[in-house]
Structure formats: C-alpha cells, structure tokens
C-alpha cells in the first residue's frame, strides 16, 4: 500500500474508532433512560446498578408477565386488575416474587392472557390491600419471539383464547366518559 493510502486508512480508521468509543460511552451513560419500562422488582427494590426507584404518583411504564390466577374482571364494566411479575427464564411463578398490581379500565389487547408479557403505562400508586400498583391508562401486549402452529402449541400445553366481552361490559364503556 502506498503511503498516501496508508495515511487515509489511518485517518478513516481512527475516526471510526473514535465514533465507536463516543457512542459506547453515550449509550452507557444513557442506558437507564433507554429502557422502555420498569420491571416489577425494579419498582419494589429499585434498579440493580443504581438503586433508582420510581416514586409514588410518578407516571411510568411497567413490563412483566401476567401472574396466572391474578386476573379479575368486573362482570359489569371493563374494569380489570391483574398482577405482574418479572420476566425471568424459565417461567416459574412464586408467591415470594416481587409483584405489582395493575388496574385498568378498557379493552385488553387480543394477546392478553395469563402468563403473557404485558407493558402498561400509568401512574404508580399505593393501594392498601395490594401494595404498590399502577393505575394504567394503556395496556400493550408484548409477545415473545416464538411462533408455533396451533396443533403444536396445543401438544405443548399452550393455548391462546382471546378475552371476550359481554354486551353489558361494552355498554358501560359508552356511558362511562373518561
């Protein structure tokens, strides 16, 4: 390689390395803010590295798995509450896991079910019987990267049924102005 090309290679190479280092440092500094949501354990115990904890009344997003058996739906209206626990692999639910209850009024996404990953957006409050909870204004479903034909899923003991709504429940939404 002739000296001029070598010089250009050195310049371009050092620019690339410099940008890489800068971007790495910026992302490292911002890593707390890039997370889309808090996990239930981060809400109850604070973030692992920094101990940062959301305060009561703060508007936050929470992400976790819907604890089986925790979903309770009001038969008269669209009010629903459920508990979320951390997404850990393998998925095992224990009563001792940190959990946060989510209260929501509205139609749930089609993918909502027990054991499903959910991201909810709302204010952090404290409800006397359940402890820390989120008054959610939006519930989004987070699905995983696994895709399966229905027959295979059934054989593996996984099934998905959409939440259904009665006339009465849907009626309550129209009369209930937010």
């Amino acid at each position: 390689m002739n000296p001029r090309r070598k010089k250009r290679l050195a310049i371009v190479g050092s620019i690339l390395i410099g940008i890489g280092v800068v971007a790495g440092l910026v992302l490292y500094a911002l890593s707390q803010n890039i997370d889309l949501f808090f996990t239930p354990s981060e809400i109850t115990q604070g973030k692992k590295e920094t101990g940062l904890m959301p305060s009561l009344g703060q508007r936050i997003r929470i992400g976790g798995l819907v604890v089986p058996g925790s979903v309770s739906r009001d038969p008269e209206s669209l009010k629903v509450s459920f508990k979320l626990s951390d997404m850990t692999m393998p998925i095992i639910f224990k009563d001792s896991d940190p959990m946060v209850t989510v209260y929501y009024e509205g139609i749930l996404p089609d993918l909502f079910r027990e054991g499903q990953g959910i991201v909810a957006n709302g204010t952090l409050t404290e409800h006397p019987p359940t402890g820390l909870s989120i008054e959610a204004s939006e519930v989004l479903a987070k699905h995983d990267e696994n895709y399966m034909p229905a027959e295979l899923a059934e054989a593996a003991g996984q099934k998905h049924d959409k939440a259904t709504y009665s006339e009465k429940q849907l009626e309550s939404k129209k009369t209930n102005s937010y």
Binding site: R5, I34, T39, H143
Partner: protein, 248 residues
Amino acid sequence: MWKWLHPYANPEVSYHFTNKLLPWLSALAAIFLSIGLVWALLFAPADYQQGHSFRIFYIHVPAASLSMGIYVSMAIAAFSSLVWQLKLADASAAAMAPVGAAFTAIALITGAAWGKPMWGTWWIWDARLTSELILLFLYLGVIALHNAFEDKNLAGKAAGILTLVGVINIPIIKYSVEWWNTLHQGSTVSKLGKPSMSLDMLWPFIFCFIGFSLLVGVIICLRFRNEILARNSIRPWVRELVQQNTVK
C-alpha cells in the same frame, strides 16, 4: 485476489459484468420470491396466538434485516472509496442508498401494521423502533448528500463520511432488544442455536429471505448500471453504446 478484482475497477468492464449478471439474478429472484411468498402467505401454518397476522413476519423480517445488510455494504463501499478512492465504489454506494431507504420504510410500515393488532399500538419509542427510524434518517441524509453537490467525487466523500459515522447504529439496532427492555420481541431466526420456530414455518421464511435478497441485488445492479452510465456519459464507450442502441 487483487489481480482478479482489478479489472472491475474499470467502469466499462463493470457495466458489462452487471449486464451479464442481471438476467440470472432476476430469474432466481422471481423463482425464490414466488415460491416463498405463496408458501408463506397461503400454506404456512398460522401461529397459535397471533393467527394469520403473523404472516407479515415473512415480509417484515427480511425487509428489516436487509435494511441493515444494505447499510453495511454501503459502508464497505464508502470505506473503500475514502481509502482507495475508487470512483466505482462511490457509484455503488449511491446506487444502494435509496434501495436501503425503501426497505427501511417497508420494515417500519409493516412493523406498525403488525404492532397495531398484536401489541395494541402503531408506534412506541422503544430502543428497537427508534434506532430503526434513525436508520431511515441516515439513509435519507446519505441520499441528500449524494445529490447536494455538482461534483460527484465531493458528494461521494461527504456521503461516505456520513455513512461511516452512521455504521455505529447497526449494532445498536441489532442488539437493542438484548441490551434494553423493549416492547419489540427478540430475534427468532438470527440467533445462536435453534430458531424459535417450527420447521414448516421456517422453510418459507428462508425462501422469502433469499428471494428478497436477490431482489435487492437486482435493483442495486440496475441502479448501479445507471450510475455508471450517468457518471461516464462523456466517455467514448458510453457514446458508442448509445449510438448502437438508438440506430436499432
């Protein structure tokens, strides 16, 4: 290897080479895409929880990974143009940018259309979606710079520097779903170990992916050929070519 590559630095040789390559690439792209898309959209089994909506996967995922792939090839071209001052490398980078931008847009649009029924929202500012949007802006910036200068060498240099700076975004897009909490799910196919998909869903994906990659190859070859002609329009061989074609 360099000896073998050297003739292709000549625009005329490259032009004839792409000419010869094009019919093969187009035929293969047509075969793979028609098999892959029909298989994926009509015959692949539906997902157990997403049902038929899951089929958008077969367009969304190839578009998204190609949007990153094209960017990396554009960056390699920009790098060799900056270091070795290959004029043809600039031409190929200019040919790739709009194709990459189109595939980024396809990935974003199909992703939004998939997100609405499945997640419950068209858009969310999570790390994966935001970094892919930045990729679109990078492509648009590169296209704008290529067109901003009368002098094509200067334009290639400016666009090349932006391309190289933007390369840092590629690993961020790729690993965003692992480094941070996102609404977007992790990768299904491109991960170590077994893909998280049954084989009768994976095979149509492989066909679709190869098909779309070949399609990108075809479009880039067409655009590259055009760039060569536009940039060498005063050369005798281009004039001869034009005359031959107009006489007929």
